[in-house]
């Protein structure tokens, strides 16, 4: 995953040191994203570039309407609470609303929202409903948030899938579609919390 230094992040986003660390304190930017390393100017902090920039853009967009405490609650509770199917339809996350027929419940957990979004990405390519349901059941049997990347290959009636816990594995899956799960999870959180 590409990284960005604190200095470059501040230049790029126009925020101050104070704002960055206030958002860290309020739980809006996870502590795990602050990676300290030695540099020629002493110590520098590096962040996962895409994740942190997207998060800061979202905070800047929402901070005038909501307090930081509210934003923090939303971000930190998005994985705990359940989402009704009606509520999810309103967010326009899913291209195919037929996807909801895979789940029998009226309310689903955040992990299931992730799984539905993964299947939504390949929905048009799969013709067999049975195959889709089996893939859905396979993914729900896993703790999806523990994985970093998912590689999917579809050919109409079958789905091949590889879940990885390490990021950027070296094997070349040229026929596979890669989904960055961490990024997908963070994007979903930000859409759901609005």
């Amino acid at each position: 995953m590409e990284e960005i230094s604190k200095k470059d992040l501040l230049i790029l986003t126009g925020i101050s040191y104070g704002q960055l660390y206030r958002w860290k304190r309020k739980g809006l930017i996870p502590e795990a994203w602050f990676n300290k390393r030695a540099s020629f100017t002493g110590q520098e902090t590096y962040f996962p570039k895409d994740l942190v920039i997207e998060r800061i853009d979202k905070i800047l967009e929402l901070k005038d309407d909501r307090s930081l405490e509210e934003l923090s609650k939303i971000i930190n509770s998005s994985e705990i609470r359940k989402y009704s199917l009606e509520e999810l339809k309103l967010t326009n996350i899913f291209i195919n609303n037929d996807i909801f027929s895979l789940t029998k419940a009226d309310e689903i957990a955040f992990a299931e929202v992730i799984i539905l979004k993964i299947i939504d990405n390949i929905y048009q390519e799969i013709k067999s409903e049975k195959c889709m349901l089996e893939f859905y059941q396979y993914l729900t049997s896993k703790t999806i948030t523990n994985y970093q990347e998912i590689y999917i290959n579809t050919n109409g009636n079958s789905i091949k899938c590889i879940l990885t816990k390490a990021n950027s594995i070296t094997y070349n899956f040229h026929d596979f579609q890669k989904i960055d799960l961490k990024q997908l999870i963070n994007n979903l959180k930000l859409i759901i919390m609005v």
């Binding site: 101050s16 040191y17 104070g18 206030r22 860290k24 304190r25 100017t41 002493g42 110590q43």
Partner: protein, 191 residues
């Protein structure tokens, strides 16, 4: 809850207001709106409060999380997160101190690993010459005296007497006292 004397709490302590005149030892965490400690308060886990006022000793094995923190005396913790921190005395923070405004006047051997926030003002009491040991300070406004630090990064930075800084990076302005030692100074970028 008022403690006059000595109290040992074997588990977590949760109360709207905790006032201690004496000694309070908590094996778990404290969660309260207000903690007023006159004497000794020791917490084995976390302290979470809206406002903390200490006259004496506060020792928290894990983290302090609050909005207003005022202390006269000795403060020990793994980490402290607060909007405003005002400490007069001795402070020992194992990892990070994160706040909007930090005002420290110290007069005993003190140590904080990382200080991060918006407005940082540190000085030692008159005639106390032992330095405050810090690894990094990162903030918008920094005004420090008698601090030994590896890396200082800020927007407006004032380095007063007694400071010994390895690396200093600033954005807008820097003012270094003649009686301070700064090895490397670098302007990061112009706003």
């Amino acid at each position: 809850m008022n403690v006059d004397g000595i109290m040992n709490c074997p588990k977590d302590l949760c109360s709207e207001k905790v006032v201690v005149d004496g000694i309070l030892r908590v094996k778990g965490s404290i969660e309260t709106e207000v903690l007023e400690g006159n004497g000794i308060v020791t917490v084995e886990k976390n302290l979470k409060a809206h406002k903390v006022e200490i006259d004496g000793i506060l020792s928290v094995r894990e983290n302090i999380d609050c909005e207003q923190f005022e202390a006269n005396g000795v403060i020990k913790a793994n980490k402290i997160n607060a909007d405003n921190i005002l400490i007069k005395g001795m402070v020992n923070i194992k990892t990070a101190l994160n706040c909007d405004a930090f005002n420290l006047v110290y007069f005993k051997k003190s140590k904080i690993k990382d200080i991060e926030g918006t407005n940082i003002k540190i000085c030692s009491k008159k005639n106390y010459h032992r330095p405050l040991i810090v690894e990094t300070i990162t903030a918008d406004e920094i005004d420090i005296e008698n601090v030994h630090c590896d890396t200082v990064t800020g927007n407006h930075v004032i380095i007063r007497k007694g400071c010994k800084i390895e690396n200093l990076s600033y954005i807008s302005s820097v003012d270094i006292d003649k009686a301070a030692i700064v090895k490397n100074v670098k302007q990061e970028w112009w706003l």
